[in-house]
């Protein structure tokens, strides 16, 4: 009991700690996000040629039909993607957490895999399956003489984005569902509620923090994503417009950066809206653990339907990866439903050099994930539990990272850190640590949302109780808050880790040599030539398997923890 501090000093002891925490995080965000991005984005506010400050570029933005159209297209696509992602994620989340469902662990892991879409190869695999002359359409055309435009126009973008990003909802919603206090459900049942009504009135509302965390992430991520629209050759959306302008040689016009500013503003606005939606509502429950919600057994008929639905959804969401797997074994796959022949040669080709990529990927992504969870957890705590002025700005600044194109951050890092040289003359920007920091910044919003949702479900009264019993703030956080947030923290780590493992755009700017390169860079290097398609796909499969195994492991840890807590009670 040496840790028990006296009551009066506690209040004063906590404050400086909080201030230091806020300052450290603010400094981190300032140095590694705001300043680097600012060095690039300030162009938006300057006049071309003279460099004088102006807002005329923003007037031009709203006077241009193309940008206005892009703006509304982006809003529409993001909104619809949230709807469809919910349709996919909801059954998976509910079935695996609310019912005694064999293979929940596998489903949770597989349902997560779509987030790990390696750049370029994922796109090629999708086209080979769902494209105009992909497997599905070639077969449909053969049998019925029709083609379905899965991958065309805005609806194509919505289709691919929902498949790609629904795991954000799945993982956050599942965590929330697991954290709901069983007694709430039992109380409702005692009062006669059951079935859909119970779910609609009690369970889903209690899981709202998780759902909103996931849904707002999907919205903002789709809004800011440029890879998918570009893969489908949809150019009249905002993020691709920004990217096309920022990366063209010879075009140093400010409009690309104006669009980046607009993307940032809309992203923050969306996050603010989701915060408003939660305002004044209390989602925390005091009793924790107990294995979460009661798991109901499914009747035979229900089982058949449930497994059918799950199998169907998994088949759909995993199809890109099935395509990727086929591609990695294919010799030539061109205008035919299946590859001409199969070979192991592509794996043999990448086997030798992939070990260095794998090692780098694991180091970079896990460090980035770790940084994200620490900072994300700290920000969530500061925003939800303290009254420090400006605390929301931390949240919004971190969230803005979602809207900054990777290449902008990459150039910003070069501008900010290249001038600083280490002893020996190497520029700071060329150290691999910078890649880790760039990845951490890019993936911080994911972890932040997960931590946020997790903390919202922890009742403050538990902490008050601990403090009343004489525990210090630090001890309360360590012994009460952190253990109760474990699920959310792990969810955040897994999301950050797995998406960082396949990120390319900022990495491409910062990687200095092959020996420092992660797997996504290796993929890029292969995917620029016809002969490299197979080896690229093989490397993609390795990346997916690698990340999936790590995800499975962490799910396993969560499950065991939950069970352990349940036993102890």
């Amino acid at each position: 009991m040496a840790f028990v501090a006296s009551m009066p000093t506690r209040r004063f002891a906590a404050k400086p700690g909080q201030v230091i925490a806020v300052s450290v995080i603010a400094l981190f965000l300032l140095v590694f996000l705001i300043i680097p991005a600012g060095t690039v984005i300030y162009t938006a506010f300057t006049e071309k040629g003279t460099g004088a400050l102006t807002v005329v570029n923003f007037i031009d933005f709203f006077n241009t039909d193309l940008f206005r159209r892009s703006f509304f297209n982006s809003i529409y696509v993001s909104g619809m993607s949230v709807v469809w992602a919910t349709v996919i994620a909801l059954p998976l989340a509910v079935l695996t957490t609310r019912f005694d469902f064999r293979g929940s662990l596998i489903i949770q892991t597989l349902g997560f895999v779509p987030l790990i879409m390696p750049p370029f190869v994922g796109a090629v695999a999708m086209q080979l399956l769902f494209g105009r002359n992909g497997t599905v359409n070639l077969i449909l055309n053969d049998w019925f003489g029709i083609r379905l435009p899965f991958m065309e126009g805005l609806n194509g973008v919505i289709f691919v984005q929902s498949l790609h990003y629904f795991p954000f909802i799945l993982i956050n919603l599942s965590t929330s569902l697991r954290n709901i206090d069983r007694s709430m459900e039992e109380a409702a049942q005692n009062l006669g509620s059951s079935g859909i009504r119970l779910f609609r009135r009690i369970v889903f509302p209690l899981a709202m923090p998780g759902y909103l965390a996931g849904a707002s992430l999907v919205f903002v991520k789709v809004f800011d994503d440029l890879a998918t629209p570009l893969l489908l050759n949809v150019k009249d959306m905002l993020a691709p417009q920004a990217y096309l302008r920022v990366t063209s040689v010879g075009l140093t016009d400010p409009m690309g950066y104006v669009i980046s500013v607009i993307l940032i503003v809309v992203s923050i606005f969306a996050m603010w809206l989701s915060a408003v939606a939660m305002r004044g509502k209390d989602y925390s429950t005091t009793q924790r653990g107990g294995g979460g919600l009661a798991k109901r057994k499914l009747s035979r008929g229900e089982s058949v339907i449930a497994y059918g639905v799950v199998a169907l959804i998994l088949l759909l969401v995993l199809s890109p990866h099935i395509g990727l797997l086929l591609l990695s074994f294919a010799t030539v796959w061109s205008f035919s439903p299946m590859p001409d022949d199969f070979t192991m040669a592509h794996y043999a080709r990448v086997f030798g050099e992939s070990s260095i990529y794998i090692k780098n990927t694991l180091i970079y992504a896990s460090l980035a994930g770790l940084i994200d969870v620490v900072i994300g957890g700290a920000i969530a705590y500061i925003v939800l539990r303290t009254k420090i002025i400006g605390r929301r700005w931390l949240d919004w600044a971190a969230t803005a990272a979602l809207a900054i194109p990777g290449v902008v951050l990459g150039i910003g890092y070069l501008r900010t850190f290249y001038g600083i040289t280490l002893p020996g003359g190497t520029p700071l920007a060329t150290l691999w640590v910078m890649v880790v920091l760039a990845l951490a910044i890019r993936r911080l919003p994911y972890a932040l949302r997960a931590c946020y949702a997790a903390l919202q479900q922890v009742s403050e009264s538990l902490e008050e109780a601990a403090e009343n019993l004489g525990a210090t703030k630090q001890r309360t956080i360590r012994r009460i808050v952190l253990p109760l947030m474990t699920g959310g923290l792990l969810a955040g780590f897994v999301t950050s880790f797995s998406t960082a493992a396949v990120e390319l755009s900022a990495t491409l700017m910062l990687i200095q040599s092959n020996s420092d390169a992660p797997i996504a860079y290796g993929l890029y290097v292969f995917m620029q030539s016809p002969a490299g398609r197979g080896p690229g796909a093989a490397l993609g499969v390795i990346a997916v398997v690698l990340v999936a195994v790590c995800t499975l492991l962490s799910h396993y840890v969560i499950e065991r923890r939950q069970r352990a807590i349940g036993m102890n009670k």
Partner: protein, 438 residues
Amino acid sequence: MLKTIAAAMLMSAALVGTAYADGGKVTIVTSFSKDVTDPFKAGFEAANPGFTLDVQNKSTSSGVKYVDETKSNNQVDLFWASAPDAFDNLKGRNLLVKFKPSVTGLPEKVGSYPVNDPDGFYFGFAASGYGIMSNDRYLEANSLPKPVEWGDLVKAEYHDHIAIAAPSRSGTTHLTIETILQGEGWDKGWGTLKGIGGNLQQVTERSFGVPDAVNSGQTGIGIVIDFFAFSAQASGFPVSFSYPSVTTVVPANIGIIANAPNQPGAEAFVNYLLSEKGQAVLLEPAIRRLPINPALYEKAPEGFPNPFKDPRFQSMITFDSDVSKKRTDVVDTLYDQLISFQLDNLKRATKAIHDAEKALASNDQPEARALLTEAHALIASMPVTADEAASQQIRDAFTGGEQKTARQAELEQQWATFASEKYAAAKTKAEAALALID
């Protein structure tokens, strides 16, 4: 503890230093894929013991940005890519140094394009020509003949079957566009480009996106640089390639970066690349680029084009790079605003014209014919003339210079409005023509 680590780091730094002592690390930034760089790395290191080649892959545009952003403490020795305009850009920013390769006896021109930079800042090492790549299975399944000339791509049968990379994104596509504009003249050239534009299935944002789509059969026909097709053929893909008669061969280049940390290594690599040994690597199946050294063509596989002997290449038009340079931004932006970002409108109008023309073929009505001529003229009409495109006023709008009469954003909006109005009018005319025939 810290001291031990520091000592260990010093030790390893010293070890690394001695390992590289005899030649050192040669750092190269390139847009070329592993299939291209690996054989060159192996060949160079074997031919120049003591040197190691460190390859950094970046897209051409990121590469240029990277070299520019890091010039204060440059760590890169060489820049190696296809598009001559990227090198021009680097040269303009004083990021390249002059060099005189020791390899002599190489031709000065390939086709009608000078092989090397006249001031000696960068050197062509391989020639590439633009042309039409097609997927044999796709063409057969859609009963399409193989297109040979640019003019073929305007035909109704190819509607929605063609892919191209946006010239603003792909330096090599830009050169193709410019070749057509110089070969056919500004107005007629844009007519052809918009005719092809109306038949496009996609405008990709990466050069490699086009051969990728053709290889996988997502699209039937692509406008690509030759080696994409040759290397795809060598990898077994069912694709064909042809050079249209209006085209040009342009060199792919290499240049030494200013203040290179390893200048001797950089020079050794350029000399190796131009030597007969280095040039022979270009003929490898996964690379298949046209060597700049004419002697190599004796070793080339059957049917491999020879730009120095083949009459096709001799008759190719002269490419005026001064004209091209003056209007690069304007041409790219015009293409984006009139074709890439108006693709749906342009395609709808083109489809309407195709439909009416088909009906007209079986039932000729002079009135309808006149309407269709008007519709064609509407699509082909341009918001700026060739002279205006090269004028100081418009160029300054893109660079922010003093003589600008409008900002780039304003010009873009004007051009986009111009295009969407003209295409809508053309569609109306074509539909009216069809109504007359029916």
